[in-house]
Symmetry: C2
């Protein structure tokens, strides 16, 4: 298998995307990966700025992620939450003791005037991560989930209400005024870029917010490198999270094909689960690679990363 | 031994004072104790409002204090600090995982507009504490330690620099503009008050800041109840903390007598260690009770509390 060489940009939300980002970081030359991370899930909780997707990517790439829970840090303790409950604090959002450090330190630096992108870069360096990790923007963007019961902040929908309310739509408050993080458009415009990879993250609430920042989608379309998405839908379900449920509520079939259509003309290639759906490759208007997309361990993350990069290489060569 | 009955007010700093406060809360009728706590040690750390003395009193009275360390919570874990170090955060002030809950929740409520006194009252209620716990003021007061090397914030002097700089003096920034916490002056003016007890806390940096709030010292002098201090000096040393070192640096003998003199005309009675000094009782201008003041366990806290209350009762009867 020939892996694409040279710089690669990946777009990622939280856990699912972070797994592929980790695989990419392992198989690419050190420093060749830039991960653009959704920050529309960010929220203020207990006076702390929490960036769930940035943290998932940082933990995954630092090999600190918790395989048992699928979120948070490995070897976590919960003394804080127990004590907080005793003081009458809000406990619907579970903050592990180790995880708290990143929220407290990031919040402290933000209040001191540091930018989210600069803080993220310092954290990834301190955590020994070779890849560059860029929040999509230093400006605040907030996903609002529109439901029959009214608008919900994303974390209230996602964590507190366990994705139970049926969604009518989404909007990304602040997106149109937000600027891409420093260096983000340059990374996409790099003529040496080998691939732009949309990780198997939720298209509606992880990838769409990134694409909603003015300039990012255009830069992806204009890039010399192929744009390849990895489908998060396997067997009519999302491996993780509410993507399939959202699709049903939005009147879309919960298929890999519907996700590709959702991305419109953005994709040059599409990676789907080997066993997925009944569509023939010609049902897609773009080249499709069928492979094993379920990442259960580090070996499968690396294997999928190599597979996607090889696919990108063939698209360029082809 | 006859204990004084009725309401009692205690003035307390951190650990040493909190031990006696705990003893008083155990031997008095539920709700008869009001503890006025120094807040001039409060500081902002990592964007959190930390109230070390309030916390020591809350933990001691909730039976959550850590006998092994002498500060912080029992059964503490340290996952946060380890993770914070990995992110390049400041680690000179040790924040336990459970302890963090009180800082995060208090800071969150303060930012929401709640007063420190209201938060403290809610915390003590939730922690099942019968005693009323009052910060000396809801207004910010900050102890500045004047040293040859310049002014130091108290926690920088106390924790970061381990009390090493020689002190020239102290000042309490904000004290003259600060108002006693709601209910504080009423507690001192209660005609039923049985005693006002100055706990064996550091006179310079724990008790003096309380006395520096306009109105508090006057209310103590005007109170119908006797004002009794318990000396923190045993055998020429402070049982805990830098009181004796400060006295030497200020040109004072490190004796119980010098502490009594420091409080000036405020005291009606004084409790000192049974073995303390060579002074005859007549060397003090006020009645002195010699007893065991070292509190090594809950029994000795209760015993000293009963002893101090009985002494107060005799002063009133006498």
């Amino acid at each position: 298998m020939t892996a694409a060489t040279g710089p690669v940009v990946a777009l990622s939300g939280g856990v699912g995307g972070a797994k592929l980002a980790r695989g990419l970081d392992r198989v690419l030359a050190p420093g060749d990966l830039t991960v653009i991370v959704n920050t529309a899930d960010d929220f203020d909780h207990l006076g702390l700025h929490v960036s769930p997707d940035l943290d998932s990517v940082l933990y995954a790439l630092a090999d600190l992620d918790n395989a048992a829970t699928g979120w948070g840090r490995r070897d976590e303790t919960w003394t804080f939450m127990d004590a907080l409950a005793g003081l009458g604090g809000e406990t619907w959002f579970r903050l592990g003791d180790g995880d708290l450090a990143i929220h407290v330190e990031r919040s402290h630096r933000l209040r001191g005037g540091d930018r989210l992108s600069a803080i993220s870069d310092d954290f990834r360096t301190r955590l020994g991560i070779a890849a560059r990790i860029l929040p999509m923007s230093d400006d605040p963007v907030r996903t609002i989930v529109e439901t029959a019961g009214g608008d919900l902040d994303f974390q209230h929908y996602f964590v507190r209400d366990r994705c139970e309310p049926a969604v009518l739509g989404f909007r990304f408050d602040g997106a149109t005024a937000a600027r891409p993080a420093p260096g983000l458009l340059d990374a996409l415009a790099d003529p040496a870029l080998a691939a732009i990879i949309i990780c198997p993250s939720n298209p509606f609430v992880s990838v769409d917010p990134i694409l909603a920042i003015p300039g990012i989608r255009d830069a992806m379309v204009a890039a010399s490198a192929p744009v390849i998405a990895v489908s998060p839908i396997v067997g009519g379900r999302a491996l993780r999270g509410p993507a399939a449920k959202m699709m049903a509520e939005l009147g879309l079939p919960a298929t890999a094909q519907a996700v590709a259509r959702h991305y419109g003309g953005l994709l040059s290639g599409y990676v789907i689960e080997a066993t997925e759906g009944s569509e023939a490759p010609e049902d897609y208007e773009i080249p499709v690679r069928r492979t094993e997309t379920v990442m259960t361990d580090i070996a499968s993350r690396e294997r999928l990363a190599r597979d996607v990069l090889a696919f990108a290489g063939r698209l360029v060569a082809g």
